[in-house]
């Protein structure tokens, strides 16, 4: 039987059912949870209206996992969790435990078999969200999983404890300026420094109008070279965003010699207190230095240590800076404030200080 003649499997199955994938206690008390308590870092207790309790043990994971490691995770969940677990949006594992007595052996097993740390709850630095990088994307200027591993090694104590920081700190990374990594209290993102270099010999695979249209500042235009249609970039207009590179690999935005990393602070998704906020530029020009990016970890410390000292409980990094003022932020971190910190893109004026409120 040829491949074509073979009947295709059903299409459009939709999302998997969730009830069969939920711990029986979560099925029983679905929508009937009353409150939760923290037992210790990485361990939560949720109590239902009827008094049922379920414990959650949170473990950090590298996100990229071999099938065998995932099977080991399953073995542990079978042993202590009635065969159920979940993942968080930051690639942490959550083991759900019905019996309190199972918490300790579970934790021991996770630490022994998987060597995964327990933590990531409350005022901690949870797992750093990351994307593909050199492992599996076509656009990256730096690696994702490796830089996260290096940073988490340095921030390990802040993951396994939850009393070292005023509030939770969510860190994200992006390995190109498309920025798959999200907003975060702190973000470490690649920054390109020149317009795309055009590989004229390759131009032609992409539809020119599409590439021209994707440029946010209309810097790309059709051109002729050696009697052949190609594209050119108006260097003065280009802001090195790399949108065109995502559209056509022949507009090469990356540069192993000149790409650097920038650090952004103060992003927040939740509507708690003042509402969500975008992150702002803290510092730039950090070398893209595999395999451990030590300069990144040093810069993170410059933000985290003063935040630990003067942040108030429940005050996220952006709120802390808002209270102490950006002047103070640049003082305590030692990062220079430069003309590049002043916005010159859309809505720039809305970021200027139009009052006489100055800290003297």
């Amino acid at each position: 039987m040829t491949a074509q003649a073979k009947k295709l499997a059903p299409r459009d199955n939709g999302a998997p059912e969730y009830m069969p994938n939920l711990h029986p206690l979560m099925v029983k008390n679905y929508g009937k949870w009353k409150y939760h308590e923290k037992i210790k870092p990485g361990v939560l207790k949720h109590v239902a209206e009827n008094g049922d309790a379920i414990y959650t043990v949170r473990a950090g994971s590298p996100r990229t996992l071999s099938a065998d490691t995932v099977r080991k995770i399953c073995d542990i969940a079978d042993k202590y969790c009635d065969g159920f677990l979940r993942f968080t949006s930051r690639a942490n594992l959550e083991f759900q435990v019905a019996k309190e007595a199972n918490i300790k052996p579970l934790i021991d097993d996770v630490q022994k078999t998987l060597k995964f740390p327990i933590g990531g709850t409350g005022a901690s630095i949870s797992n750093i969200t990351h994307t593909q990088g050199w492992m599996h994307c076509n656009l990256p200027g730096t690696d994702a999983a490796g830089s996260v591993k290096a940073m988490m090694d340095d921030l390990f104590e802040e993951f396994v404890n939850d009393d070292k920081l005023p509030a939770r700190v969510k860190i994200t990374t992006s390995c190109c300026q498309i920025n798959c990594g999200g907003q975060g209290d702190i973000a470490v993102n690649i920054q390109h420094h020149h317009p795309p270099k055009i590989k004229h010999e390759g131009i032609g695979i992409c539809e020119h109008p599409k590439v021209v249209a994707i440029c946010p500042v209309a810097a790309i235009r059709p051109a002729f070279m050696n009697g052949k249609p190609t594209l050119e970039v108006v260097d003065e207009k280009c802001m090195y965003c790399g949108a065109c590179h995502g559209q056509c690999p022949n507009l090469e935005i990356r540069d192993a010699q000149t790409d650097t990393l920038a650090i952004w602070v103060g992003g927040k998704a939740s509507s708690t207190r003042g509402g969500p906020s975008f992150m702002k530029l803290a510092t730039f020009g950090i070398p893209n230095n595999p395999p451990r990016w030590p300069e990144v970890s040093q810069a993170l410390r410059k933000i985290l240590e003063p935040y630990k000292k003067t942040g108030k409980p429940y005050e996220r990094i952006g709120e802390w800076i808002e209270r102490i003022g950006w002047k103070k932020f640049f003082e305590v971190t030692g990062f220079p404030f430069t003309k590049y910190h002043i916005d010159d893109f859309r809505y720039a004026r809305t970021t200027f200080n139009t009052s006489t409120h100055v800290r003297l």
Binding site: A9, P10, R11, N13, G14, A15, P16, E17, Y18, P20, G31, Y35, H36, E37, H46, I54, T56, G60, S61, P62, L65, A67, D68, V70, G83, F84, R86, T88, S89, A91, Q96, K115, W134, M135, H136, N138, L139, G141, T142, A145, G146, K149, A150, D153, Q177, G182, Q183, I214, P216, S270, S271, R273, G275, P276, N288, P290, P291, R292, P313, F345
Partner: protein
């Protein structure tokens, strides 16, 4: 002992955080292809340069879902010449029985390199490392077993939601059920690109927004309540006794964005009409304070990440709606269809819905999709006076009211009022 072929990556085996390098090295004993992946990564670390070319592959009957990767170092690493990622739609809220998860492990080993990423930033379960032929076979087996494939291109993306009612007392609506309803209803839009660009939903049960929906999705659906917050004054008293009144004032009362909560002795009072349901006081005093009983959702629209105009944050579209019954869910799907229809007809190529709104104006957009303007959609009314009041402009000819040409003339006639 021979010298290591990956000295730079080896450095990432040290340190307390679990190492993906160690795990992949272990895997390479079973799956030799993985040592070539590590080899190419080592080259990247050395050269600070990436060696993947990319495109997308469509499974038969689909318009995307597989991220195709081709190594540029094929002569050195022939086994990863084709090394694709299949995006699999995971169970809502990333909940798994070990049976479900083992099935994914088996499929990933059978057809791919045995590497799983749990999960991608969009929310898919990612299976890395199959070649083109195996990708199609994996797709068939996945679908045979009831799984489905995530979206790519100008299509709906895999949805994501917080754990919601399954294990969170804060949840004001059923995020998992809503996720399943939207995915299943719009599965064709997920598989077959027909939009100007991508569209993402993320669902959070409350304003804590654990799914980071406001900044990472085009249409965040966030749980909330109206009417009185539930207060257990006995628990308030215990909290005050345990922490002291000063602590409560400093960390709860003074942090309320609308100053609508107060402490009177050992009791809390909330001016519910001014509570904006930000969740702060509930987070701190989670035993004493709970969302009100009349629950529903706030729907926002227009969030996206940097490309191309800079990040946009979603903004309020529907301040409140109930989302409990089948009828409510159908109202939601109908609203989504109206948005998609208008955006698809008038949106430019690669224009996310937030960028589209920026271009045509929120007022025009609301008319186009048939939603009444509401003061809760803005921080404040406009402050500039350059306004084209359609009703107040002189007629073209005497007696004939002038109508400003507008992109959505056609739509207005056929549309009904808001949800």
């Amino acid at each position: 002992m021979s010298e290591s072929k990956t000295p730079l990556l080896d450095d990432l085996e040290k340190g307390p955080w679990p190492s993906f390098v160690s795990d992949l090295k272990q895997l390479s004993k079973k799956k030799p292809v993985v040592s070539q992946l590590l080899g190419q990564m080592e080259q990247s670390y050395k050269d600070r340069w990436n060696y993947w070319q990319g495109t997308v592959i469509n499974l038969k009957g689909y318009g995307g879902g597989v991220i195709a990767r081709y190594s540029e170092l094929q002569s050195k690493f022939p086994d990863i010449a084709e090394f694709h990622t299949i995006r699999v739609i995971p169970p809502p809220g990333w909940v798994y029985s070990t049976k479900t998860l083992r099935e994914l492990c088996d499929i990933s080993e059978k057809y791919s390199a045995g590497i799983l990423q749990l999960h991608g930033m969009t929310g898919d379960a990612l299976l890395l490392g199959s070649n083109t032929a195996k990708t199609h076979e994996a797709g068939e087996e996945l679908m045979e077993k009831g799984w489905d494939i995530g979206g790519s291109g100008g299509a709906l993306r895999t949805l994501a939601c917080c754990v919601g009612m399954a294990r969170c007392e804060m949840s004001c609506y059923d995020t998992m059920k809503t996720l399943k309803h939207l995915t299943d209803t719009f599965i064709s839009q997920l598989h077959r690109p027909e939009f100007p660009y991508k569209f993402k939903f993320k669902l959070s049960g409350c304003a804590n927004d654990c799914a980071a929906s406001v900044q990472r999705s085009d249409m965040p659906i966030i749980g909330t309540w109206r009417g009185p917050m539930q207060i257990d004054q006995a628990e308030v008293g215990k909290f005050v006794d345990a922490h002291g009144a000063d602590y409560v004032v400093e960390n709860v009362i003074s942090r309320c964005p609308t100053r609508c909560i107060s402490l009177k002795g050992r009791e809390i009072a909330v001016d519910d009409a001014n509570c904006v349901h930000c969740m702060h006081c509930l987070n701190v005093m989670h035993k004493a304070l709970r969302p009100g009983k009349d629950k529903g959702v706030t729907i926002l629209l227009g969030g996206k990440r940097t490309l191309k105009i800079g990040d946009t944050m979603s903004s309020v579209l529907i301040p409140f709606m109930k989302l409990e019954t089948e009828e409510d869910l159908n109202k939601l799907t109908e609203l989504v269809e109206r948005i998609w229809e208008f955006w698809t007809e008038h949106g430019l190529d690669h224009e996310r819905v937030g960028e589209f709104i920026d271009r045509v104006g929120l007022g025009t957009f609301l008319e186009g999709v048939g939603i009444e303007p509401d003061p809760q959609m803005v921080i404040h009314p406009r402050a500039n006076s350059y306004i084209k009041f359609e009703e107040l402009a002189p007629g073209k000819m005497a007696g004939e009211p002038k109508k400003t040409p507008s992109v959505m003339d056609k739509e207005i006639e056929t549309r009904e009022a808001a949800v």
